[in-house]
Symmetry: C2
Subunit: 264 residues, 2 copies
């Protein structure tokens, strides 16, 4: 998906919500477990229920991988089922030497037709650039993450490491194929980060279960194209454990969508 | 596998060679492509041919993942086939928030019974600690990698980032469940790193195709338990493209084994 198409979808829906498909086999409603592919049945119902409120889906690859080859089948069916109006993110946090990152790019951009993948920056340019060689595909690079451990290394140095990551990586990609992960748990940091990368989109996790707020992120983080994809995973998909899980997920997505409409 | 068992195997064989199973479907001998599972057939022959020369195997997960669910089947058969005398490394470079790293740990320590996994440190303590909760399983944390991009961020700060990673992570694990990735392309750095982590094992990639040398690494990097697992992937497994690929791999492994014997 191109940046133009993404921005069009955002304005069409007045939403910049991403639904995280962290579809944990131990947390999906019990009545689905007797179906042939419980994870896919769950995702299908969640997608049907939320697609009018969101513009992106983000399967968290760990939850598929942990089921072995069956999980990868569920992932393939899920990515095929997501409407092509929606931006897709493989939340995989990959990154390795060039010849290996090239294989990861093949996995997520060819074997599975994702629009984007999250990538860890630690190994530098040759771990990131193979993903940027694809037309209309995106890297979403970890910068300042939402978790407790973000304090361990991401602020290292006189110039905090996450700032160096944002500065240097702008030589590798452009605002049309490179986004950054910026956690919602650091809303005050968005001011400085917008100075460093005014035009880029940010994928913002950490709203909901991790404690971040949509309005705080929007106050500091939007740009002329909105420039944010705010993700909620558990806060949407596990809104109910019962037969009504899809309706409950739709309601949670609708509430976030409602908060986002104020930005238009 | 415990540290005691690993050190015993190293002394028994007089080897600290790890064979990297970067089993690229586009590079394995053509005559295997007509078999039901070419990647597993290739790995099986490589394991049979090299097991007397090495003490560890390291499947590079990217090359399995890129084949979708079939690749994960090949990986499962491979890990089951590796003799339990050999230490196994999932070269996966994972790392995410706690609840997600917990899923990755489940994948590689339960769904597949690896002894260890490579982990990227960028996201800090909660991205690493779920892997350390398993008895007799290991984290191999990226510190100073072998690739060109290691210069981008790993030296960031007055105290280079890789040194901070090595120092801080020693509060998270011990020399009995935590190793570091230190590239063979920086042999002079081993002196300083041994001051910081004298007792830990290091997984050393970058010998062979990437240009590092076994003797330079051993000069600076060994400790009283040897303390090194030196990896070679392409330099061993793709020694020949013909019918004789397994014999050629054995010969390449034997040459590295011969260089290692001098350390005993």
């Amino acid at each position: 998906m191109t940046r133009k198409q993404l921005v069009e979808q955002i304005h069409l829906k007045e939403s910049f919500l991403c639904v995280g498909l962290d579809s944990d086999i131990n947390r999906i409603p019990k009545h689905l477990l007797s179906t042939a592919d419980p994870i896919f049945e769950f995702n299908k119902a969640i997608i049907d229920a939320t697609k009018d409120h969101c513009i992106a889906y983000k399967p968290n690859i760990a939850f598929y991988e942990s089921l072995g080859s069956k999980g990868w089948d569920s992932l393939g069916k899920t990515i095929d089922y997501i409407p092509n109006t929606h931006f897709t993110i493989a939340d995989a946090k990959r990154g390795d030497i060039g010849n290996t990152s090239r294989q990861y790019a093949k996995t997520f951009f060819e074997t599975f037709a994702f629009d984007s993948i999250t990538v860890a920056p630690y190994m530098g340019i040759d771990s990131v650039s193979p993903f940027l060689e694809y037309d209309d595909k995106w890297v979403i690079l970890l910068a300042l993450t939402s978790n407790k451990g973000s304090n361990d290394f991401q602020h290292h140095g006189n110039e905090p490491l996450f700032e160096t990551v944002i500065k240097r990586s702008q030589d590798w990609g452009s605002p049309s194929n490179l986004m950054y992960v910026i956690g919602a748990t650091h809303p005050e940091s968005f001011v400085r980060i917008r100075e460093l990368a005014p035009d880029h989109f940010y994928l913002v996790p950490g709203v909901g279960a991790q404690g971040g707020s949509v309005s705080a992120v929007c106050n500091y983080g939007t740009n002329k194209d909105i420039g944010l994809l705010i993700n909620s995973s558990r806060g949407i998909i596990f809104s109910s454990e019962g037969q009504d899980f899809a309706e409950a997920a739709a309601e949670s997505a609708k509430q976030l969508h409602f908060q986002m409409k104020e930005q238009f």
